[in-house]
């Protein structure tokens, strides 16, 4: 499988889904991202990215329960696929490698 180059927002979405561990559905992901990153997240941007990552095979989704507050509409829970895990780990290793390559004097 060829390596998929994650965008910054894609990486953040994947990480947030990984954090939520099986509880990741649209609103929960937005809340978690806004809380942790202190930035506004648009529902349109998030949904588009999640559908794209799902089409790329990095995410999978399944319907969950319907609640009254949701007008009887079911939640769609997202989880990382094996490929999603691999891509996230690769992104992390690349960043760490870059960090470790920075000369110590730079941030003194």
């Amino acid at each position: 499988v060829s390596y998929y180059h994650l965008g910054e927002f894609e990486e953040v979405v994947l990480l947030t889904i990984a954090i939520l561990q099986g509880e990741a559905y649209g609103i929960a992901i937005i809340d978690e991202m806004e809380k942790r990153l202190n930035r506004k997240v648009s529902i349109g941007a998030l949904q588009t990215v999640m559908r794209r990552l799902e089409n790329k095979g990095l995410l999978r989704s399944a319907f969950g329960e319907a609640t009254k507050i949701r007008g009887g509409k079911r939640k769609r829970y997202f989880t990382l696929t094996k490929e999603g895990h691999r891509v996230l780990l690769e992104a992390k290793e690349q960043r760490l490698a870059l960090w470790s390559a920075i000369p110590k004097v730079t941030f003194k």
Binding site: I27, I69, R76
Partner: protein
């Protein structure tokens, strides 16, 4: 505050309806749930008014390619089917007709063929407009076909085809009744006869299919429309053939008529396919019937005048070198040349040409110590000749000796019969409009 029957808060209806309309059906349920959950949460935190605005903002943020997925069953199917239309071919065909119309006015080697091509294009842009209602009716029939609507539409498509054909007949009949001149009257009556004959034959064919309990599409609507379109196109072609027959000669006219027969033979099989052809396949023919005459009409109406101004000025500008050569000849020999051929052949060979495709070479007339130079271009279906005349000594009003006698080949005489004349922006050049 708006609440539903169970007393729950509900978001603005229109944005929600818009979301339901554009959202891909696979994503609709969970995203709508997210929207409602977020809305309810916001109402308790920031109030209804702000929550409503933010709901609208959320819906608009979802209106993007990854989420949009309009109803595939009908709309998407139509779009996909329309993608099979070769738009480039359609565009090229329209462009070709436009180029045909303007070809006599663009720079290039002089050629009589461009005149006839322009006539054909101009006829398409005038009489061809009769094809537009047929094309429109056919487009409706095709769209209904793709909409998977059954029996109800089959009957109405059939009547739509009959109505559009009757409309064409009415136009022909009215035109024949209104025009006073016998030639156009005969032309319109011939057109009427062609359409009526085609219509009767098409109806007979459909009756035969019904009688034999054969299967056929659209209640025969496409077949009727195709026959009507062929009748109108044949009328346009025959009209051009008559122009060729009268303007060029019998042999080219007969060749054109033979080509029409070849065209009939080729199109016959295609028309037969309309009877039981694939229902789901979109037939692009209505798009041609609608676009080509309209584009030709626009070209005819709005391009010919500016382009004929351009070609006239272009030819006048090019004549300046020829006029200089003529004057130089007079300085050398003491007389103007008898004909252009008397000038230095090496210089004249290129410089005596107008270099406009629809304008033949300059016409030179010497009368005693004076001369005139002229050329012609044709407009309005070849019915209007524009004679552009260089006459610095006002020869046309002072014709003497053998030139005083009317000579149709002499532009100096012909311009006297012009119904209008106009100045050009060049000294001593004037153009005259002759029927």
């Amino acid at each position: 505050m708006k609440k539903n029957s169970s007393g729950k808060l509900r978001p603005p209806r229109l944005p929600l309806a818009f979301f339901r309309w554009f959202c891909h059906p696979h994503y609709r349920e969970d995203i709508e749930g997210d929207l409602l959950e977020r809305f309810t949460d916001r109402v308790t935190k920031i109030g209804v008014k702000k929550a409503n605005w933010l709901f609208i903002k959320d819906v608009l943020s979802l209106f993007r390619p990854g989420i949009i997925g309009l109803h595939k069953s009908s709309y998407q199917k139509k779009i996909n089917t329309m993608k099979r239309v070769n738009w480039i071919t359609l565009l090229s065909f329209n462009l070709l007709v436009t180029v045909m119309i303007i070809s006599p006015f663009i720079p290039g080697p002089s050629n009589k063929v461009v005149f006839w091509l322009s006539i054909l294009g101009q006829i398409t842009g005038t009489f061809g407009l009769l094809l537009v209602p047929i094309g429109l009716a056919w487009l409706i029939v095709e769209r209904r076909k793709l909409g998977n609507k059954k029996s109800g539409n089959r009957i109405s498509s059939y009547h739509l085809a009959i109505a559009s054909t009757l409309f064409i007949m009415l136009v022909f009949a009215l035109a024949a009744a209104i025009v006073p001149n016998p030639m156009p009257k005969i032309s319109f009556l011939s057109g009427l006869l062609l359409v009526v004959t085609g219509f009767v034959l098409a109806l007979q064919k459909i009756q035969k299919w019904e009688h034999n309990k054969e299967q056929f599409n659209d209640g025969g609507a496409s077949y009727i429309l195709a026959v009507s379109a062929i009748s109108c196109i044949s009328f346009i072609y025959l009209l051009t053939s008559v122009f060729v027959l009268v303007g060029i000669g019998i042999i080219p006219g007969i060749i054109m008529l033979l080509l029409l027969l070849v065209g009939f033979a080729l199109i016959n099989n295609r028309v037969k396919l309309l009877k039981t052809g694939k229902q789901e396949k979109f037939n692009p023919m209505p798009l041609y019937l609608m676009s080509v005459p309209v584009i030709a009409f626009l070209g005819f109406m709005f391009l010919i005048t500016p382009l004929s101004d351009f070609s006239r000025n272009f030819a006048i500008q090019r004549s300046q070198v020829l006029i200089t050569l003529i004057e130089e000849h007079k300085n050398k020999t003491g007389e103007y040349p008898v004909s252009i051929d008397d000038l230095d052949p090496r210089s004249v060979q290129k410089k005596a040409k107008t270099n406009i495709m629809g304008i033949e070479n300059y016409r030179y007339t010497k009368i005693n110590d004076h001369y005139s130079l002229s050329f012609s271009q044709w407009k309005d279906l070849g019915s209007l000749e524009e004679i552009v005349l260089y006459d610095k000594n006002n020869l046309k009003d002072n014709l003497i000796d053998e030139f005083a006698k009317y000579d149709y080949s002499l532009d100096l005489h012909r311009v006297k019969g012009a119904f209008a004349s106009h100045d050009t922006r060049y000294d001593n050049w004037r153009y005259y409009l002759v029927d």
